[in-house]
């Protein structure tokens, strides 16, 4: 991480930095996190230099720590981003988010005649390989890139 970035991170007293966001996914992620509803400071940066990715996006949100369900949602949209948790100006946790084996009530099934699209119920998807999700109920598979969130 560059000095400049460290300063950016250090400037946050309590909250989360979402790092390594592909530049074309930045606003999707911002929308997903409902940053427009945040009342505490939010910093959004795009096209920042990255050794790993060339260019990247980054979001800093004060006073926000993510639940597992929220992290799963992020993972579906963008499987390789990194979360950095800050408490009292200290980095307390860094995690590379990964897709869980089972996604409960995160993704919508693309099959219109699947029971999950016709009953008030939770969807369940299983990860198959690295880029495919399989619906527990109708058994239909869909590629991660075509996924719609619930």
């Amino acid at each position: 991480m560059s000095n400049k970035e460290q300063k950016l991170v250090a400037a946050l007293e309590n909250g989360t930095v979402i790092d390594h966001i592909p530049t074309d996914k930045l606003f999707t992620i911002a929308q997903l996190l409902e940053v427009s509803k945040c009342t505490e400071p939010v910093l959004i940066g795009n096209n920042l230099e990255s050794k790993m990715m060339g260019k990247k996006g980054l979001i800093k949100i004060s006073g926000k720590f993510f639940t597992e369900a929220e992290i799963s949602k992020l993972a579906v949209v963008c499987p390789n981003i990194r979360l950095v948790e800050i408490r009292n100006y200290e980095v307390v946790a860094k995690r590379q988010i990964t897709l869980p084996e089972t996604l409960t009530d995160i993704v919508k099934c693309a099959n219109p005649v699947c029971i999950t699209n016709n009953e008030p119920m939770k969807t369940v998807f299983y990860l198959k390989g690295t880029d495919t999700l399989k619906c527990r109920y109708c058994g239909k598979e869909q590629k991660l890139e075509n996924i719609k969130l619930k």
Binding site: N111, V113, C114, I115, T116, N118, E119, P120, M121, C135, R136, Y137, C138, G139, K140
Partner: protein, 311 residues
């Protein structure tokens, strides 16, 4: 409580399948029993069906159970917007087992998750139809004496026919050789061919349907080629008569060969075939009764031993 529902039989072990076949064999010897005396079987047909429903109702009656249910969702609260969950929970208060058909895929699995009483899937959309698969297996077992090492020829609509897909999956442990005979537009979907490759199931694809191409079949499983399945109607006109079985095509076939069809048929098996010793589709439908008696007993915890003891 262990949920003994039957949503799919695709993952059943050979032992489990054999157990169900043995139960069906017992029921064929003596179909009329009192094993379910005092029990109530609910048949919930959210989607109309004649054959499957009558077969299940008959099976329940011949086992001595009482039957409640509906044959048309228009007369139920579903039409008032009641959820499947609520209907299932309500009926669970009255019945010991629910047999259900639904137009939505995954409905039976979901139903089995919201109740403590067993669910038998009598078809959920184009997804699964395990009782049909069970009666197909029983018909093959009965006519061939085994499920092992058979040449099974699947003919007609292999794209949308869920019975042929289920059959492939449930035969995978018995070393079958499949022949897929279908027009280009209705050929076996890629996902099932990949499944066969993954599971080491031998298959041969062909488009010709003649007395020579079916000469080595042990089982000839016919399905209906439906006009509405074609996007190109000229293609339909071209192939519609190419997958019709006539009696004169049976001259070279094996002695033990039997013709199966999930019914209803339209014209894909000519009526002159009905008199052939190879025709088995009506007996196949009758086998559905014994297979369904076995399934109902299985979900209620009645074992092969119980059935053998019951005279």
């Amino acid at each position: 409580m262990e949920n003994r529902s039957i949503v799919s039989i695709a993952d059943y072990s050979k032992e489990k399948i054999q157990n169900l076949l043995d139960m069906a064999t017992e029921f064929e010897k003596h179909p009329n029993r009192s094993l379910l005396k005092g029990k109530v079987v609910a048949t919930l047909f959210f989607e109309p069906s004649t054959r499957t429903r009558l077969s299940f109702v008959t099976a329940a009656n011949r086992l001595g159970a009482r039957v409640i249910g509906f044959t048309d969702p228009k007369v139920t609260s579903s039409s008032k917007g009641e959820t499947l969950k609520d209907t299932i929970k309500m009926v669970s208060n009255y019945a010991d087992v629910i047999v259900m058909r639904h137009k939505l895929e995954g409905a039976a699995l979901y139903a089995s998750e919201v109740t403590n009483i067993p669910i038998i899937n009598a078809g959920d959309g184009s997804n699964l139809h395990p009782s049909q698969t069970m009666l197909d297996l029983y018909s093959i077992y009965k006519t061939q004496g085994t499920l092992e090492n058979l040449n099974i020829y699947l003919v007609g609509d292999l794209k949308y026919g869920r019975t042929v897909h289920s059959l492939i999956m449930s035969m995978r442990k018995y070393n079958p050789t499949f022949h897929f005979i279908a027009p280009k537009e209705l050929e076996m979907p890629e996902e099932y061919k990949l499944y066969c490759q993954k599971e080491g199931i031998k298959y041969i694809e062909q488009q010709d349907f003649t007395e020579d191409t079916i000469a080595d079949a042990d089982i000839l499983y016919m399905t209906r080629v439906q006009r509405e399945r074609f996007t190109d109607l000229m293609e339909y006109e071209r192939v519609k008569d190419a997958y019709i079985l006539r009696a004169d095509m049976l001259s070279k076939c094996r002695e033990n060969m039997k013709i199966l069809h999930p019914l209803p048929r339209v014209n894909e098996i000519q009526y002159d075939v009905d008199d052939s010793k190879h025709a088995y589709y009506f007996e196949q439908a009758q086998n559905g009764l014994y297979a369904r008696e076995a399934l109902i007993c299985d979900v209620l915890g009645i074992t092969l031993e119980d059935i053998k003891k019951d005279k």
